[in-house]
Symmetry: C2
Subunit: 296 residues, 2 copies
């Protein structure tokens, strides 16, 4: 579950509720691609904007549709009590794993983050992966804290928040991290534009946001690196470069939601208010990029 | 309500629930000081960590105890739908106003923030103040956006997130802001250590976190500036300097919770997990500072 290629679908909304028809359609594209795992209600799945009941429902739908593909879901929230309630919900819905970012309102200290994971993992019956995403949580893990956390029971993977731009530096750091981690804990890369670099540097798994919309191509990209065909991965990555540029400028979620709207996979708007998908010229140019992408 | 001195009490917890006895005690200290208004479940009141039911209950208790002192409460959340539900709850509980920060998970754009307030204020029957707190929301308002927002219906006050260190620059900016704002919209200062400067520079109201524990002294500090006795305010502020230093180092919430615990006003721990109050040497030194403060 915590290796290879993991796809993270949108949770499309319609008038504030989950658009179950569209959500089912997105999940079918993903299962048809035979991905290694599905990460439902991740950041791209808008977990932070959904009610507890909506989070349960989205997880339940995904588990049902996924068949033998393992499903994990996010249990992130600012309060420990709420995270534990969400963890129980997720396990009841049948997930094979959970992911958790140290979501915060008050900026957290390292000691608080350690205690947070210690409390939560102590109550779990499924593996957890630690989701480092400073842009949304306001907290950046250091390597020492990640190492300590890797030894907690049920911690099985870490999604890196930061990756060196230089490949040899990245390879060095990932080697060092893996050597310091509790045995069996895998390292994941997200932020689609740096996935190939992360996998080349030694990451075990690509947790992919755009993989919710292009699972076939991005799974092929990830598996190419893992089986040693780096050139094939680099070529596939080049195809998506214009989309990575949109991610940098508008954020991956707004870009992905706009693509799903443009491709008619979801209704427009599909994002939870106050978030807005792209409009005007930005949207028109994105439409051109994705129509070109589908011709290749 | 949006002028003078406003006190923001802690919402102390006990085993994950509101410690109603301790909370009532804190509110009684505040009402006895005859503050101009009370801001319940603000950032210091841990709104972000409470369930919807707990937020309702805290607001209800405060309204009941406050008598003729107007109470406002926070309706902040990441999703517009949830904010509107919380706004309805707050109004049902009897608040005279609400406050709202653009709480975020995905970093918001200015356009999203404007739309967020536009939707929410359109559904309100009480005034709202805009709470600019980049440290917790990840969003910084610019003056142009604040000006536009001041013209929305029901917007009545803005709590500034940033204040120039230089008094004359601060005075200049606040004069400019007030001239650009819709008539009647007041400007507030928070971040207790810069309150005197903010009021001297032209702010109308001091939204005070430590004012939940020392309402008499800090009300006197605020009112001194507003009636022109600046020296008295500066002297009072000097008394609290060691506490402002703690705020800078550990955050105001951890410091305030520790003071309340040390003074026996709340049980220990009183903060929602994963947040921790101070321990060890830091706590011992804080105890010395507050015992000295009470001797003056």
């Amino acid at each position: 579950m915590f290796s290879g290629f993991s796809a993270f679908p949108l949770t499309p909304l319609k008038n504030g509720d989950i658009d179950e028809t569209a959500f089912t359609g997105l999940l079918q594209i993903i299962t048809a691609a035979e991905v290694d795992s599905i990460g439902v209600i991740g950041s791209t799945g808008n977990y932070a904007y959904l009610t507890r009941a909506q989070r349960y429902r989205a997880t339940e739908i995904a588990v049902e549709l996924a068949g033998s593909i393992p499903v994990m879901s996010s249990i992130g929230a600012v309060s420990t009590d709420e995270v534990i309630r969400l963890a129980n919900d997720a396990q009841k819905a049948g997930v094979k794993g959970v992911m958790m970012a140290p979501v915060s309102y008050q900026k957290l200290t390292s000691e608080e983050v350690f205690g947070f994971y210690e409390r939560v993992t102590g109550e779990l019956s499924v593996p957890l992966y630690i989701y480092d995403n400073p842009a949304t949580t306001g907290f950046s893990f250091d390597d020492e804290l990640l190492m300590r956390l890797s030894f907690l029971p049920n911690v099985s993977s870490v999604k890196l928040g930061f990756l060196e731009t230089d490949l040899s530096l990245a390879t060095q750091r990932i080697g060092k991290l893996k050597a310091s981690f509790c045995e069996g804990v895998t390292l994941g890369i997200s932020g689609d534009g740096r996935a190939v670099r992360g996998l080349m540097a030694g990451c075990d798994v690509y947790y992919s946001a755009l993989g919710g919309l292009y699972p076939r191509e991005l799974l092929e990209m990830a598996h190419s690196v893992l089986r040693g065909d780096v050139q094939r991965a680099i070529d596939l990555n080049a195809l998506f470069e214009p989309i990575w540029a949109y991610f940098s400028q508008y954020g991956s979620l707004r870009t992905i939601a706009s693509i799903a709207e443009l491709r008619g996979l979801v209704q427009s708007p599909c994002l939870p208010s106050p978030l807005l998908s792209l409009t005007g010229e930005d949207r028109t140019m994105l439409a051109q990029i994705i129509s070109k992408l589908e011709l290749e």
